[in-house]
Subunit: 530 residues, 2 copies
């Protein structure tokens, strides 16, 4: 599997002529071969035209055909073997075990959506039968199903080069919904992207699907991604990355003659609340787990614990000392890119330079592009007075906010922007205090967890990886778990259509055996006669 | 029930001091008493503060309590009696039967959402139980439910003074979801709004709910509505009205530090496709139904058939003659406001002045503010060349587009913007032609209907009153039917929370008896042991 540096335009591999860029070895900063050609506007035009022409056929493929397609993608990814792991390790600086685990997660995610397809509930098939005898007016026959939105643009994320990238959750859920996908590959891992993109390309061919179901464009700059979001054929956008980039894409999408949804997962500092009972009972143990969560993947998780809230006092001092000691013992780790490393260093310097912020600990030093973990503390008063302290520092840095009491702690929570996660550390004695905080936490975060940390996002049916702005641009959605498919669907109602013109999912006799809602009540057809 | 002209700020009735305006008798253009005081920014601030403080308590009221509240609103509306009907007739020019029917629809809608609440499926309760033995890592316990978004701003519509206004579908679905509502009353029917608003206010009190659950503000201008959408406590917006106003509100909401969804139902010309078999078999009969649909409610339905597509020829000429004759026999009807009447006249004049447009028929003339129906025809070529011909003319005007063949007709459909409805008139012989058109129709419209007209929107579980932009700002949603509640919900995931801290909907043993999804599969708890 020699890398070519070519964009994938449907079944064709096309060398982009709009400049070129290289992947970079995260450890050394040196360029990796080959050069990747930047896609041209013509490449983009061709990819969009193919996606548009594939859409109607692809969205009406059978549930089984799409499920098999997703599974084939997973098989093709596994078939790349170690070449994928090694290239990905080089481009991201992440260790083998992490990349192998992420590959398993990516393939598992594709399988989850295959199961979602075979289950079919996402179609939300509904039948309100006609009532010709109704007075004063007869009732028409109404049937509803969800259909795919249209071609979707997906932006690969730097921090999950497999699970949130070319064949990641956005792509898997959009393809499951019936949407062709055009990926703008992340320029931080172009080789990984090419390998995975070609796996999808092979799966499209193996499954006999229209070539426009998948394309992938390389670009070292911003122009192609922006043009993609602006293109009238793109009907939704999936993105994981920085707040600035996500908001920029949202603005482009909103300014279109036909605005379209942008699902951007952006910025979160993931508050950790240490309740008094838990802090007193096992502060040192929590500190160990905290240090491990903070430094996992060089602190480059969206759900990294960037903020710790607790009531000041002896127990918090114990926690701070234990966390500081633990951080000093954790080795430094390479960051994803030299640019991310530089930004991290700047963020840490800004905190260190703040007269209201105390530096509690620094992690071990390492290589040139390794992140040195950092732990800071401040008062609730200072934190509330300085909105800049609420900004995410992407990497293994965290800020402890010492609160006078639980009331002040609650006030800090209320002042926060939207979050992906909030973690509560609690004992039985803390339940009453938690009950007071929970309504605020529900309004702030997509996921609330007890006695754990947000790093580690289970791919499941009850997962929400989302949250109010700026955690995401759309708090009504999740980018992980089976509900992610809902982002790429819209309902269509059919009134009095002859049965043979209805979509199969809605025909009399329920030929697909779907769970349908009849007059608002869920049941499997046939059950009525059982 | 004397009208006071006061805004309703929670339980208080407050005379706005920011200018004043009157309702207007639609037939005569004369001012109706009393004057309505324009709400001040202080009034707005107070309403938002009350809604914010009511939110956490209100959203956790029991399903039964919210269902009873919605039913009480319906009872209170009915209890107003004839005073509501008469004021509404005066302010809108709509006839008694229509207003009485709309009141029934409004109360029915409240009952539908009471049933949706008692059913509980909208919570989407999900449980993925812990798997402590799972390798390599144990699985956490994850549970998910939908919660209310937060306080919602609702803008009453001029054309449905009851069903899409103060206690209309937006308010009913938002209140059902658990969102406090602040209505900006439509200045075209302030007296109707005050009567209905006070009915809701009484229901809040009768049900012992926090007063901030409902407020209503009057304003003769735009400032209060715009400030409402910009307020940080408002988390979603429901709107039915013009494209310009809906887009303006969307822009305000997108420009907020925390952007929020705007559900604006705006502009649709609702294409009617007359297929050759149907046109030949019963063109004259369809023409009668068309004329009735076009002039229903003085043509002021969102789903009014503003565009007719057919293949040119003898059968179409027969249809045109029959429709023209039918229109001439239908009496003129008063429009909602003098301003809407003036805009309608301008729109008709623009069409009449177009050299590529032929005027086929005019309806009967009537009073000063009555709409004179108008039927025009043009060629597909001219229609495709002039985008302005695709603009909605709000009122009983329609444009027939004569196509050379079905291919050209398909091209016209592809060139259209998003629509609320598309109507197909077909016979068995037309099914093949329909099959070719359907993929395009699904992409263009929220509802596809056969052998009928879009006017008449059933309040049902399988209804979609929505569609791609500019029919609405969010094609993923419907503003009519039980799925309308989804607009005001977002999912929250709970990980490893102790049972007594979980929301009741997610606790062990399923105390609410909800249909829950366990590991992705729907079932009622207890069924496993049956």
């Amino acid at each position: 599997m020699t890398l070519t540096g070519q964009s994938l335009i449907g079944a064709a591999n096309v060398r982009g002529t709009n400049g070129a860029f290289h992947g970079v070895d995260a450890r050394t900063g040196e360029a990796l071969e080959p050069a990747f050609g930047g896609a041209t506007q013509q490449d983009l035009e061709r990819a969009c035209a193919l996606a548009e022409s594939a859409f109607d056929a692809y969205r009406e493929t059978s549930l089984e055909a799409r499920a098999a397609f997703l599974e084939t993608i997973g098989e093709q990814i596994n078939a790349i073997g170690d070449a994928l792991i090694e290239r990905c390790m080089a481009e991201t600086g992440l260790p083998r075990a992490r990349i192998e685990g992420e590959r398993g997660r990516t393939v598992g995610q594709l399988k989850l959506f295959a199961a979602v397809l075979r289950n079919g509930d996402f179609i939300d098939a509904r039948v309100d039968p006609a009532q010709p005898e109704r007075k004063p007016l007869p009732r028409v026959d109404l049937r509803l199903r969800n259909i795919a939105l249209g071609p979707v643009a997906v932006f690969g994320a730097s921090n999950f080069p497999l699970a949130f990238s070319v064949a990641g959750g956005d792509t898997a859920s959009a393809l499951a919904a019936g949407c062709p996908v055009i990926v703008k590959a992340h320029s931080a891992h172009p080789g990984t992207s090419e390998l995975v993109g070609r796996a999808i390309q092979r799966a499209v061919q193996a499954c006999g699907l229209p070539e426009g179901v998948f394309s992938m464009l390389f670009d070292g700059g911003l122009a192609i991604g922006q043009a993609l979001v602006a293109d009238h054929r793109i009907k939704a956008v999936g993105f994981t990355g920085s707040r600035a980039a996500g908001v920029a894409l949202m603005k482009i999408a909103n300014a279109r003659p036909e605005p379209v949804p942008v699902y951007a997962e952006m910025s979160s500092i993931n508050p950790v609340v240490l309740l008094p009972g838990a802090l007193a009972a096992r502060g040192a143990a929590i500190a160990q787990q905290f240090a491990a969560s903070l430094t996992l993947g060089a602190g480059q998780f969206c759900t990294n614990p960037g903020l710790v809230l607790a009531v000041q006092g002896e127990a918090l001092r114990t926690f701070e000392q234990a966390a500081s000691a633990a951080l000093a013992n954790i080795g430094a780790a390479t960051m994803l890119t030299p640019g991310i490393h530089a930004n991290y260093c700047k963020g840490v310097e800004r905190l260190a330079a703040d007269p209201n912020v105390e530096r509690l600990a620094s992690g071990a030093q390492g290589g040139r592009f390794d992140a040195q973990a950092a732990l800071f503390a401040t008062t609730a008063e200072a934190f509330l007075a300085q909105p800049a302290l609420r900004n995410e520092v992407f990497g293994p840095a965290s800020l402890i906010v010492r609160c006078k009491d639980l009331g002040e702690l609650h006030g800090v929570l209320k002042a926060l922007e939207g979050q992906l996660t909030v973690a509560l550390h609690l004992e039985s004695a803390d339940h009453e205090a938690c009950r007071v905080l929970l309504p605020t936490l529900e309004r702030k975060a997509g996921r609330i967890l007890a006695n754990g940390f947000g790093t580690g996002v289970e791919v499941a049916h009850a997962m929400v990886h989302g949250g109010p702005f700026p955690a995401t641009t759309d708090a009504r959605t999740t980018s992980v778990g089976s509900r992610a498919i809902e982002r790429f669907l819209r309902p269509v109602s059919y009134q009095d259509l002859p049965d043979d013109l209805l979509p199969v999912a809605l025909r009399e006799g329920n030929p697909l055996g779907l769970t349908r809602r009849v007059d608002g009540v869920i049941h499997r057809e046939g059950n009525r006669d059982d």
